[in-house]
Symmetry: C2
């Protein structure tokens, strides 16, 4: 389970990591091999990250990659359901379906 600040967004989280270390966008963007402007947008949740970016961010900041991925994907799902009436129930049903599929995979 994630320990701290589960309700901070993915973008806010990596911005926090970066600012804690007093690093400019320029530096991290270079390490990620993306444009400064793209990283700025990722930190403002206006652009998507991807597997490679998450991988590299986890290395740069020495954090768990799986944890970062959870933050990223949970954000995306949250965003998809934010305007839905039955967001919570949709998640519950999705959970049952995933459990069911996992079960099927074992057979």
């Amino acid at each position: 389970m994630m320990s701290k600040q589960p309700n901070i967004s993915f973008g806010e989280y990596i911005r926090q990591l970066r600012e804690d270390r007093n690093l400019p966008l320029r530096k991290i963007a270079a390490e990620l091999d993306i444009d400064t402007s793209t990283l700025s947008k990722i930190e403002k949740n206006e652009r998507n990250a991807n597997e490679q970016i998450i991988e590299r961010l986890s290395k740069i900041f020495s954090i768990d990659k799986a944890d970062l991925k959870v933050r990223y994907l949970s954000d995306k799902i949250t965003y998809q359901l934010l305007d839905e009436e039955d967001g919570i129930e949709i998640l519950k049903v999705a959970e049952q379906k995933i459990i069911y599929h996992k079960q099927q995979q074992l057979q």
Copy 2:
């Protein structure tokens, strides 16, 4: 809460509704104002439905629209997380985020 067969997919579900009534794709597709082939693909989860289609399906089959939407969106989320290691945890975190946002909206 949805009562029956929560683990059947959206496509399988509406196919079942249709076949229970012995109706051809042609007829339902006409009512939905979409191509027969598109409806076939929706029933095989190879194409997306949308708000209008869900709305009309719920009327055609006299079922609850919200329920149908839960089926549809939970399917989409399930599909997104099916290959993820931490699918369940991602959903839990998303749930917390949604609850948090809902809470914020009230203030």
